[in-house]
Symmetry: D3
């Protein structure tokens, strides 16, 4: 039994609230238990320099925590004047995950900028970000279709993410902060609706892990992601 | 009649939601119509270098907009590596306003850091920030009292703020974004519950203003701030 | 009686020296007592990106203190790698004040950059900067007219600024550093020659101020600015 | 057959040259084919602030490419004034990998800083860095033992890393640059001598990958890392 | 004959005005013709970390140009967020030159910070800076002696600097801007009152120079510096 | 006799290895005893803004030390976010030295970027950099000729550099680190094959130096540079 009473294979309470912010083309508040992330999708009619004139589009992401999203206040990266390594790592992961399911040619020479701002953190902010950002991205694509800018949704399949970890020798799905800080191993899986992976990241915080443990974690992640996709789908149908 | 049907002396719909975030000692979502600002108050057991060893406390503020709080996305200051002039101006204003009603000696050698993060912007983000931050600050002070760290609330009186402007020759209270962008004059008043001012800032965006107009704006602001203080009081009593 | 023997409504000794620097289109050394600011106006045949192709011009300002302008040496912002909040606040104020009296359409698609560099500081550097910068700006406009670039001076009226404060319950005009550091309230007024305001900024450093006190400060400021404008006029006629 | 004639399960020519630089406590030139990385280990008698007074040590890493290590010259991060996201990601990976096999308590309150500077890049710079850095780290530990500073080598087991990828549907070990730029999937495995993983990172650059493909890549990686460890061992015995 | 009528071995009109700024322990306006530099010396009761506890003092310098010191306006380094290479080069030169004639042991564990701010530039700003800074430094040392902080002036001998250049095959002393921009060779000599050198920097801007030319330039520089030292001496005796 | 047994007029063992890196158009490892610098030359088909459309080319240089090139590790400038003054000074010196012997008109509107990265430092890194960079530059020019981009080598003459210093009253050629740190005077000479100077920089670290000493140092430098040029020539003929 886990600290919050969940079984090892249970997700936290997941909530996806669409149209959370009025200005953005897509905006979603995603909640994985007490972890709350605001994901917005902004359409821009330009692409980065290395893509100009090639006809294809771009999807990229930025990630940030509000200073008091965490238990003790973290200084703002804007005040420090530079992004930390963790921020870089996470925003690159979110961007790659979304591009993996986007048909950039169909999108045309324009960009979607995803902003993931963590309002409250309780573990799993990167996996919540990817899961919520996908929904915001689809909303931005729908807006582009509604505007008549593009003919069809440039999405090949859905994408969602979940963390799995080994805590005291047991494999747990969707770690909260307390579990995460005690975990020996922490793996993040990003999967598509066809059951394939676009990103896998595993880190032994304390003790290295075996092939068998990796397989166990992967199985649990696949179960979790399937459920997350059902919740994404439901949100998109409302 | 104004674009949103309000009378010239009417505030927008104001909402103050306390305990919005679980980690912070004080946290408030303040809404002035569609303007939504998350204000958190974080207690730290230290003071800036220039105050060390002098026994007094400090209250300071940081202000930021989420990138898509606005109609078109604004680049993050963290990504640009420096704070803009407008951000500096606003966060200094918030800090001064709150210190003006705080008994820093009673607070003792510790700091309260106020973070005002604009989730959605529709005009008046700085006045909403001050009005909400006061409530978050009181909650942090109450937490300090409840902890037994300090004996009494180090607050001398309440503080709130409102904008007033001249649009097409008419004086309007609490401008929304559309009004603000058309205003000839924009004044922000920060007032205490004893009916006195801690900050007054007036700017002629287009046409200079006369003494008479300044007086009219001040009268309207005083009415507005009185109402805001009733709402603050109500929120603090819940 | 004040520390330097002035009456409460007296300005310090004011001096405006034109053509102080040989390269700039306009350059003025302005002295408010021991406060000495070098204001230069530089014409550039370009405008910021947001104005390109719209036919109008721009006036903007930068402000800086030499490291030893003050009693103890302040580190250079260039060495620290970023501008402080106070610098941002002041240079935005100077820019807005000058734009308020400039006919930007008449100026045409070009910019005037005002640089205010404080050589020696003794209170009131921002009001001295505005007062001196106006004269430098007119000189730059005269240069443009003399060159045949523009047909007429793109100035609607004069602008000057002064500080007023409450020290030990008394209202004083044009505070020097010693007075400023003891003031309960500090207000800066920026006024045009038609007797109207373009900027008003009041801050209660210690004790909030009442409507009556605000009115008293305003009256004194109006007297002071009238005198400053006579001195500006005289300088411009030499 | 691969572009350079290797079989799919073959490593490139691997070379580990110890004591490459005279000043560093450990220094290794590691070559994976044309990829050449200089790894140095520097001992410092201090630890980061969050570890002070706790008795344990620290191992951390920095990574950089010389500007012309790559086919076209890349601007220096020192000249741009900030580290890119890729650099952050890689240096965090190297640091975590080495800490995973270090007994930080045995190391005592001191740090080893690993610098991985890529002299020439041809794919696999991060896996070469980890593989070479381990040898440099052991040399620094031996130096500490020889100095009598610590009693025993604070190493629990060896660590090495290799990349695996899917190119045109085939799984290849240890991708060179040409293969890497054409790969559909790219996975990096960091393994210890007990056959367990400390880091696994897989990214679908083009097409998502299945469980079966992940298993194939893992098998190949395990073969490759075993060989790398034999080469590390040999180098350390010279 | 030179553009301004001087003979090849003539200095421009040199003026040294002491006590130019009221706050600084030493402050000098130095003029080499139209080149005007404000040099201030600030005493601080601390030394840089690498000197702490060793009993000796430190002299260092910062150099900056006001934006409109030059013919066209140069952007502020504070606004760009970093010092340029030329600034670094010059301020290091000034610091080394002054330290060469200072008895740092006699100065005791304190620092003198020299600030050289170019008000107007017309060639030779670095040599004017060194020449003026020496006088400001002596004034700061006299202040320390007058305070009773140190027993004697910690100066071993005087130091001054001048530029020499080859323009159209002729060797000229103390180049102004027009000459400097046409010079084939530009040499700066920093000399002490004992006729010895502390810094020599020669650069062939267009054509390399011979031993014979170097000797000619050196002879001219020695004449110029002797005259500069007489002017320094005179200023210090007033 | 010197610490390493050399006579006062002897260079250290000099080695120039061409084609050290496979990607760069020119790449040289230059060794002055234990000082090892990797110099690469990168051709770019563009010039800096101030040269655009004028037909001429550009040669510029960047210089950096690997963190552990020195006895104790130096923090990376990329991590600190800015280049130090010493780096600026040296890279400007290298760039000027190479431009002095390049026919920029013949080079045409393109740039050669020289990167000097110090692998191991033992004194004289700037003079080794210039000496090696010249060879890398010639290789890049040869590549341009071989490509048919330019008709002839745009080199007017060879350039090399050496340091000379006064240690315990004796004049030594090509100081190593131990000598350099004890030297009273340190001079760097950059000379061309016609026996003329493009840069001369002398600094009295402790005691000023006389004309006679300067002449002695110059004579020794001329001998050293002649030998360096023979070694450059030999390397270029292989």
């Amino acid at each position: 039994m886990r600290s919050d009473g969940r079984s090892s294979a249970a997700l936290r309470h997941i909530r996806i609230t669409r149209k959370y912010i009025k200005h953005a083309e897509g905006s979603v508040l995603v909640e994985f238990g007490d972890t709350k992330v605001l994901c917005t999708a902004s359409v821009e009619e330009s692409v980065p320099p290395f893509l100009r004139g090639k006809g294809g589009g771009w999807v990229t992401a930025e990630y940030s925590m509000l200073p008091r999203a965490t238990h003790t206040r973290s200084p703002r990266e804007a005040a420090k004047g530079k992004l930390g390594g963790r921020t870089h790592e996470i925003q690159r992961l979110i961007g790659r995950s979304l591009r993996a399911v986007t048909d950039l040619t169909l999108l045309g020479e324009r960009s979607v900028l995803i902003d993931c701002d963590v309002i409250q953190a309780d573990g799993g902010t990167r996996t919540a970000s990817i899961t919520g950002a996908y929904v915001a991205l689809v909303d931005a694509f729908r807006w582009l279709v509604a505007q008549g800018t593009i003919a069809a949704l440039p999405v090949r399949e859905a994408v969602a993410a979940v963390s799995v970890g080994i805590v005291n020798g047991e494999v747990f799905l969707d770690l909260n902060y307390v579990e995460d800080s005690r975990a020996d191993v922490d793996m993040n899986f990003v999967m598509t609706s066809s059951g394939r992976f676009v990103e896998v990241q595993g880190t032994a915080e304390a003790e290295p892990f075996t092939c068998v443990q990796m397989d166990e974690m992967r199985s649990l992640a696949m179960i979790g992601i399937e459920r997350l996709m059902a919740i994404q789908q439901e949100a998109l149908e409302q």
